[in-house]
């Protein structure tokens, strides 16, 4: 039986130590699994954690992969801090991509100075509006936002599927489900680093993601808005006494997280695809939920958590290419990594002891 007792404060050394221990444990368990499956454990771990970032351009690609995760998770942090469970970021991301795409496809002749801000605004609006559905249903009718936001993800996936096969299909694409290519002004360009040139797929959206994470941290830690969000999450009754409107906070945090997800969708398409296609997200919206928790709902830590999760993803590809390791092994390994990191978080918050309480035996028969 594991017993937990809450720590009053989290010592800094623990904050730094637990992720390290969690990752070390994952490495050990991973090594055992790889060895059991007949792979050289050292080589396998190398392929997972080192090979994907052994060149500067690969490090850049790691950031590219983490970019949507960081943007989405930075927004989700607000919702989760307020105890509002938006798990439909995937759908909000899709709507953001579609709204941004609408600008790019409808007004292809806009100049860059108008195009990009318009796409950013519309991308955020798309995610925002999609998140408003669970927000309004929750505040008006007390409908569970977890399920509504999740259901809307499926609806969003079908919606984009329909648009790129129907009204937005490129007439020149031989009937294949692709929108026309965006005009150059609608594409997020790659970052040119003096002395390096272009590094991998590093684009301005990545820089934006880092700025967003820092901004999210600032708002949450230093502003009244952030304070409201935290109070509503930690002590809703105190919040009501203080005159905060819980419905308004619910709408606000769903709006923020939706807008962030929408922005991520617009950025992902504009920077990496250049056109809309039936699938644009590949589960970023769900993975970002895990990232948010790994980051302990701290936007600054979201950057690191996003990079770790992205690394596991890239490592899976690299292990496949180098060792022929099936993709499913990656899933197992990633699952274990996440379990360990989540459990590591427990050691931060609680004193953990293993003991066998004798008194508990009676209650089992009752249950």
């Amino acid at each position: 039986m594991i017993t937990l007792s809450q720590r009053k404060t989290i010592p800094l050394r623990l904050t730094l130590l637990t992720p390290v221990v969690a990752i070390a444990l994952t490495l050990v368990i991973g090594a055992v699994i790889f060895a059991t499956l007949g792979y050289h454990p050292g080589e396998a771990l190398y392929q997972f954690f080192v090979a994907p970032i052994s060149r500067p351009d690969q490090v850049a690609d790691l950031f590219v992969k983490a970019c949507p995760l960081i943007i989405i998770a930075s927004g989700l942090v607000f919702a989760y801090r307020a105890n509002v469970w938006n798990i439909g970021a995937e759908g909000q991301m899709i709507l953001g991509a579609m709204f941004g795409g609408w600008v790019a496809l409808t007004f292809p002749d806009l100049s860059g100075w108008v195009m990009m801000p318009a796409m950013i605004a519309m991308g955020m609006l798309g995610g925002f509006l999609w998140a408003m559905i669970p927000a309004i249903l929750k505040t008006r009718f007390n409908t569970n936002e977890i399920l509504v936001s999740l259901m809307l993800t499926y609806v969003a996936a079908l919606l984009i599927d329909w648009t790129v096969r129907g009204p937005w299909r490129d007439p020149m694409s031989f009937g294949f489900p692709l929108s026309p290519m965006y005009a150059d002004a609608a594409l997020i360009t790659r970052v040119y680093l003096p002395g390096f040139g272009h590094l991998g797929g590093l684009h301005w959206g990545v820089i934006g993601a880092l700025v967003i994470a820092v901004a999210a941290w600032f708002v949450l830690a230093r502003t009244l808005t952030g304070f409201q969000v935290k109070v509503m999450g930690d002590a809703p009754r105190a919040g009501r006494f203080a005159g905060f409107n819980p419905s308004l906070v619910t709408i606000m945090v769903l709006g923020i997280s939706g807008a962030a997800a929408g922005l991520a969708g617009m950025v992902e398409v504009s920077a990496n695809m250049g056109q809309l296609q039936p699938e644009i997200s590949f589960g970023y919206g769900f993975t970002a939920i895990i990232v948010a928790f790994l980051a302990r709902l701290n936007p600054l830590a979201v950057i690191g958590a996003g990079l770790i999760v992205a690394l596991a993803e890239l490592g899976g590809d690299s292990a496949q290419i180098a060792l022929g390791m099936p993709k499913v092994v990656t899933g197992v390994f990633k699952g274990i990594l996440l379990f360990m990191l989540l459990a590591g978080e427990t050691f931060n918050r609680f004193h953990v002891r293993l003991k066998m309480p004798v008194t508990a035996v009676r209650e089992v028969s009752d249950a």
Binding site: F176, E279, I280, F282, D317, P326
Partner: protein, 364 residues
């Protein structure tokens, strides 16, 4: 001094070893797969092709594949990584890899890229495709003769040209032997969802269909047919193991000759992207006549049906244009009159209708 000598010797050994390696090293070939080769459909057929490449070239080549690569930025990265790891030729085996392949092809002018089922090409990127619809014409002939209810059920994935061509070729084959038969189409909106495919097959059967065809990848439809005592056709690979009593035959995508030809051309330096006309996708688009599409033995059908199937397959192999007039669309408009026929470009640009005998309308 001693150390220096040692180092020089070591360096020399290294150079020699490298030179030796350069001669003996196999040429690396990469494959990018959309799903797991165990899907028993699309990717499985590519995996068979890859294994045939290994068998054919032996130690001359070394192949690598990456599975479950989503059709987005991840594919760009994976293709680029394969190029960087020294693969000399890279096969990208799904339509959605088209622009990612094009992008990476520009970055690695010395690497040859072969993209399947798309239409964009460049100096070092060619495209290939199989005339899947030819097999479906033969399926239609068999279905038309076998059906007692005159209702045939068809499972389709997504309304892209390849799938529409297949439905129409099927219906033309069916109507050529049985003008009363109709085929109804259910869009499953997935290439691979066994339970939904099975549900859709059951619905077709409940609606009275006694022959089923599919343009989705799992063997679920045939298993359902087997249990319900109706017949069907397999997709991409031989699915007899799943439905020994129900499978009439499968149209098998045989990528091996194409892969082997491409690699051979690369090895002897004669590889080019070819002169494929711009109006249809694919520098290479071959079918039954070149064994790019192979039909498994005709089974579970009377001898006269098998004979008709063989005749139809021979006719197509012999150059018969399936899409030649007269035929109408299912709203009664004449598409082609007697003596007219489609060229390949029409198949991709103009086929936005169902032919007579198909129920409903193309979605989207």
């Amino acid at each position: 001094m001693k150390h220096l000598l040692k180092a020089a010797a070591a360096g020399l050994v290294g150079v020699v070893a490298m030179a030796g390696a350069a001669i003996a090293d196999p040429v690396k070939i990469g494959f990018v797969y959309l799903t797991n080769p165990g899907d028993h459909g699309w990717t499985y057929a590519h995996e068979v092709g890859r294994l045939d490449v290994e068998k054919h070239f032996g130690s001359k080549v070394e192949t690598t594949y990456v599975e479950n690569v989503p059709e987005g930025p991840d594919s760009t990265r994976v293709i680029r990584e394969l190029a960087r790891q020294g693969n000399k030729m890279i096969f990208t085996t799904s339509f959605g890899y088209m622009d990612p392949t094009l992008k990476v092809a520009k970055e690695f002018p010395d690497v040859k890229f072969v993209h399947l089922t798309g239409y964009k090409r460049s100096g070092n990127m060619s495209t290939g495709n199989i005339r899947f619809y030819e097999g479906r014409y033969v399926q239609g002939v068999v279905a038309g003769m076998m059906t007692k209810s005159n209702k045939v059920g068809y499972l389709a994935s997504f309304p892209i040209p390849e799938v529409i061509q297949g439905i129409n070729a099927f219906a033309l084959g069916m109507r050529s032997v049985n003008p009363d038969a109709t085929v109804s189409v259910i869009w499953v909106n997935s290439w691979y969802d066994p339970v939904k495919e099975s549900d859709a097959a059951k619905v077709h059967i409940a609606e009275g269909a006694d022959i089923l065809a599919q343009h989705t990848d799992s063997p679920a439809m045939l298993q359902t047919a087997e249990k319900a005592g109706v017949y069907g056709f397999g997709q991409s690979s031989d699915m007899k193991a799943f439905a020994p009593k129900a499978q009439l035959f499968s149209s098998v995508n045989n990528w091996s000759p194409y892969y082997i030809a491409q690699i051979e051309a690369m090895l002897d330096g004669s590889w080019t992207t070819g002169e494929g006309p711009d109006h249809w996708p694919g520098n290479t688009w071959l079918g039954l006549s070149d064994d790019y599409l192979v039909l498994t033995p005709f089974e579970n059908m009377p001898a006269n049906v098998a004979a008709a199937a063989k005749a139809a397959a021979d006719k197509v192999s012999g150059g018969y244009n399936i899409f030649s007039g007269p035929f109408k669309d299912n709203a009664g408009n004449v598409i082609l009159s007697d003596g007219e026929s489609y060229h390949d470009g029409n198949l991709w640009n103009d086929m936005n209708y169902y032919v007579e005998g198909v129920i409903g309308k193309i979605p989207g």
